[in-house]
């Protein structure tokens, strides 16, 4: 097993990390064993195996001597050439070690900065998400109201209470408002989906580390909430709403924890 440290195949170009052993592919050291246990990494193992193969002496297949009809020679056994003793890998220089230390320290700094930024984005995401949800809820109400008015209008027209012309005029104006709201709702839902798609990977990464304590905290809050219901401090309605929200969060965090542990 190699010693703890940074994988020799890892290198950085600006803010991105790449792996020499994975055909210079971009890697995320937070999710790859580049910093700890890199000797378990498949790319590293493959490279190591290649390296061993190259260091081993080349096995030369025995040459078949050319024979001629005129001259027949019996091949005599050649004396075995002793193999040179394996060369010990040169010790890394102090500069190399220092460079690695610096790279590992830099990684730590980058991770901290990533974590800070990701947390800010997640906080903002939760707020924006709640606002979008409220807006979508309002639009749903609006759409329902217009749909009901449209039904009412059709009924009035059927009963002959309004003229055909009047019906068409009001229907056109309701349809226009309705389609504006439906399109806005669809647009917001799409944006919400886009937002979730880009933020969720960061959410998972950040929350993975704190899933366990967070779940414990949420379970404790659930127990307290039960007590509040029993003592009549909260209404059944509020209790049910919050309980379902907390259970949902617990489930989500458990899923994240399972994914990380897998």
């Amino acid at each position: 097993m190699a010693s703890a440290g940074v994988c020799p195949g890892l290198y950085r170009v600006r803010n991105k990390f790449y792996c020499r052993y994975a055909k210079d592919a971009e890697v995320d050291p937070a999710f790859m064993p580049c910093v700890a246990e890199y000797w378990n990494c498949e790319f590293y193992k493959r490279w190591k195996a290649e390296e061993r193969k190259q260091q081993a002496p080349e096995v030369v297949p025995p040459r078949v001597e050319e024979t001629s009809i005129a001259k027949v020679e019996v091949a005599r056994p050649q004396p075995a050439v002793p193999l040179p003793p394996p060369q010990p890998a040169p010790l890394p220089t102090a500069d190399e070690i220092e460079e690695l230390i610096q790279r590992a320290v830099e990684l730590g700094r980058l991770w901290e900065s990533y974590e800070r930024e990701a947390r800010a984005v997640i906080d903002a995401w939760e707020e924006v998400r709640a606002r979008l949800r409220r807006e979508i809820q309002s639009l749903e109400k609006s759409i329902d109201a217009y749909a009901a008015e449209l039904e009412r209008l059709e009924l009035r027209a059927k009963m002959g209470m309004i003229s055909e012309e009047e019906f068409e005029e009001i229907k056109a104006s309701i349809d226009a408002e309705l389609s504006k709201r439906v399109s806005l709702r669809d647009q917001l839902e799409k944006r919400l989906g886009d937002l979730d798609r880009v933020v969720l990977p960061h959410f998972k990464r950040i929350k993975a580390a704190e899933a366990k304590p967070e779940i414990a905290k949420l379970r404790l809050a659930l127990a307290k909430l039960d007590q509040k219901l029993k003592s009549g401090e909260v209404s059944r309605e509020v209790y049910e709403r919050l309980r379902s929200e907390l259970e949902d969060k617990i489930r989500r965090l458990e899923r994240i924890r399972e994914e990380v542990e897998e």
């Binding site: 809820q137 609006s142 217009y146 008015e149 009924l155 009001i170 905290k217 909430l225 709403r241 929200e245």
Partner: protein, 169 residues
Amino acid sequence: MMSLAERANTVRELFEQVDRLWDSYVGEVKKVLREWGRLRPLLAERLSVLRSRIASNLEEMQELNLKLELGLVDEAKARRRLEELNAETPKLVRELEELWVLTERITRDSILHMKRAGIPVDISEEDVVSKEREAEECFKASVISRETFERLKEILAEQLAALKPLSPD
């Protein structure tokens, strides 16, 4: 001294004038009803959105306070959001109360004039009863004040009375 024929002609002219006034009244009623028909969907939509938004703000306020007690939210953030909700909700309530009372008053007037003008009424007693229930639910959920609820109840009772068949006198 007017002759009998002259007097009879005067009465006939008065009836003709009454007819003209009646036609003009019915014409005006129809005009106002058309305008009301255009406005009603907009009001219905706004009222629906306001009710939903106020109810959701009130729920959020209750939940935020509870989450604060349970230590589930960042206090500074929760307080900021509570301030926002405390500022926004009364404004929405005022708008809802004003528009709701106005809508029901116009509906009551429309029933009265449709009945008088002999135009079929497009609202049933069941509709009014269901509106009463909705107002009561909104009052219980603190979406509207008691004062507004009482005012609405009064107007809805007038709508029900207006829907009853007109007395022969």
